[in-house]
Subunit: 502 residues, 2 copies
Amino acid sequence: MSKTFELLQPYLDKDMALNTALTLLSWDMETLAPSGGMDYTAKAVGVLALESFNTLINEDVNSLLTKLETPDEQAGLDEVEKAIVKKLRKNYNDLKVIPAEEFKAYSELQATASNVWAQAKEKNDYNHFAPVLKKLIDFQRKFIGYRYQGEGNRYDVLLDDYEPGFTVEILDKFFNEVKETIIPLVQKVSANKDKVDNSFNYRTYNIEKQKEFCHFMAEYIGFDFNRGVIAESAHPFTTNLHNHDVRITNHFLENNLESAIFSVIHETGHALYEMQIDDRLTQTVLGSGTSMGAHESQSRFFENNIAKSTDFWLPVYPKLQEAFKEELKDVSLEDFIKGINQSTNSLIRTEADELTYCLHILIRYEIEKMMFNNEVEVEELPEIWNKKYEEYLGIRPETDSEGVLQDIHWACGNYGYFASYAIGSAVAAQIYAHMNKVMPVEQYLREGNLTPVREFLKENIHKYGMLKKTNELLKDMMGEELNAKYFTDYLTEKFTKLYELN
Amino acid sequence: MSKTFELLQPYLDKDMALNTALTLLSWDMETLAPSGGMDYTAKAVGVLALESFNTLINEDVNSLLTKLETPDEQAGLDEVEKAIVKKLRKNYNDLKVIPAEEFKAYSELQATASNVWAQAKEKNDYNHFAPVLKKLIDFQRKFIGYRYQGEGNRYDVLLDDYEPGFTVEILDKFFNEVKETIIPLVQKVSANKDKVDNSFNYRTYNIEKQKEFCHFMAEYIGFDFNRGVIAESAHPFTTNLHNHDVRITNHFLENNLESAIFSVIHETGHALYEMQIDDRLTQTVLGSGTSMGAHESQSRFFENNIAKSTDFWLPVYPKLQEAFKEELKDVSLEDFIKGINQSTNSLIRTEADELTYCLHILIRYEIEKMMFNNEVEVEELPEIWNKKYEEYLGIRPETDSEGVLQDIHWACGNYGYFASYAIGSAVAAQIYAHMNKVMPVEQYLREGNLTPVREFLKENIHKYGMLKKTNELLKDMMGEELNAKYFTDYLTEKFTKLYELN
């Protein structure tokens, strides 16, 4: 190993250890910790988070990086070490340009903002949140000013935090194609909505039986319980200490069968990504999914492309019917598949189906782009939001709680994040199209054999961790970067058939 | 706040935060973490443990402490700050005298020793463990050499790690009294063993019902679920992140009713201590029980003095009978109380009852004392062990696995620890005797009202954390330090009555 890189190692180890601890603390607070202890534990978390920040963002690390960036030193580094240096440099530059006091003031604002947002949402009072939102956006605009290199759209700076390589130029093109194809398709589906019935989903389903089935489902898809655990939390999520300890949560509703089943499939998709990252990369700064969108592509691939198909359910549906003999006795496999694929124009993003989801994202993308190009002010947001819902989905929120106040993201300072959800769906469709060319996916599903699917994802995506960006993964896999056509074709074909639109 | 103390604060905060993380990681590894991830997580734990060690044991902290120890600075400190300085100084001195390389070599030896011990115990092969044990003891003998101040017994150095203030002089006196009273008592009980039957305990008890009852029992005694959680693990234990997040575990056996019930009561005793420590002390180096023995006194107080009495079970036994209608229908409250108090001479410490337990400890105390006064060598330990069991308990181990190899303590480097278990039982009996003088304990128990008992312990013991040592707590509570007579009288009276020895 390079001597200079050896000097960097203790900083990397400390960063890894602190992040392991912070991840576990956060998992514990979501799943198990007693409510009365949160404030005390938060104090420890605050100290560790600051310690973690200071571990890699300091002059000693900067000097080591500068040295490691010289051609002589680069020659002595392997592929992984080079990528680590690059990644640390990016983090360092992104954070170092922001004046310490501003960062502190912003962090303090952020710490209180989600509370204010929650109150505003509960009271349906946008004006309660607006002043905080304005301050958050002003901070972000200022930070963009420090980070903007003079080329491209200013919003690119934020998109880059979640989806490296994806700019407004690329995404405008992507969303325009989505818009042109999906809006008319959604309108047609909407006009034919009576063709699909999913009322069976809202019968009463015993929660213990749901849990048992979901456990089976996670294992069926490939969740390795020797390297992971499942717990419960208010909102399902995936986290990991490293590639040998990956954790998902689920939640259960007595009157909604789909909810827990597709949540566990979604989270298992995320979990497989983390479990299949190469051992060389885990516990390094490259040891997780390469971007928010790439991660979401894996969860949605399993949730939608795989697990909403007839082939997938052929070997599994009898087991579900066995668990819910009475409840599902009059629901044929065909009815079930139609039901779980039902599409409805709704106001709430998190409840949206596979088809309409991207329109919810489109709206947020367009609004954020305006926000950071100074084309909209905070007071105007509710009206713009409602207009876009009317225009794209044909429904208009009656309250801000089910409109502009519905998502927590802006309160958490997550700007530029939303686009990744749509990128995830599109990448999933593209991988699915390619996979069908190179292997008999449908046959494997009918045989209940998901191993080839998992292995393909491991070899082409998972194992690389952050060594490759999303578009590099796609290009190396199939010779083509993200192309909206795979996504729009997939949705068009699927929903045309489902709703008998021809 | 003193300016110098303010400079110390960031070190204290960091130490607190790292210990919170290490506690949670350890809890998680015992209760939930997937087995396949342990080696990876251990790497993070190692880094954090070293970081934690270095946080308080360094020249900067030493200088601050030296300054804070001057009369001028002391004048500006409050009671808690003074105690923190004193505690940090003790830790610093204890650790600083040991050469870094020796400490490292010892830590490495320790890390592998418990595995070797486990193999030796499984194979009943003392010679497999003996060389490692010899090395561990040699290290400890050397460390004593660095720490010994020239006065008192050399073994005092180790006793002080677990039970500050308790020396060989004090404990020899204590154990002699125990020996003189308890050995003849045990012999009499043994001769009358047919008078007590606890066969009902080994019937089949549904585990879900056991869980439900144990949850109720924890709450009944005072476990606050808003500030704590209960999980399962192989061996029950208590841990805490701070006084608002205290966690206990339990384990369940289908064919042993007592096991889970008295485990949860025992751990709840530990938990109440941690939950009732003053808010000023939690998240400081003084923020937990003052010694191993003081802690054990609280768990045993509830497990034995309180929860093995007829008064305690009067309001609760009907609920247990309700849960196990068939299993307990022929077991009267009187039979039940007799059964849970049964005493049997056995070879294994962890299975020992309230009466014989202290003899198991006596044996270990005498052996360790010889060990660190160079009066015994590793090869001789099995024979000495077996002889003492024959002499004190009238039974001789047939294998080393159920003899000298039974405990993990020596493999973990815990020398001087065992005595605390006996101190705990004796302190519990002394508190119980005093409490009966100042309040109608039995009446409260019959009324199902444990609040006055908890409040008394809070005001006299718990709230002080490490501000007072064990003997100070006793002296301030009742004007008298530890006195074996309370313990021997309690056992004599109880077992004379139970086994009708008069």
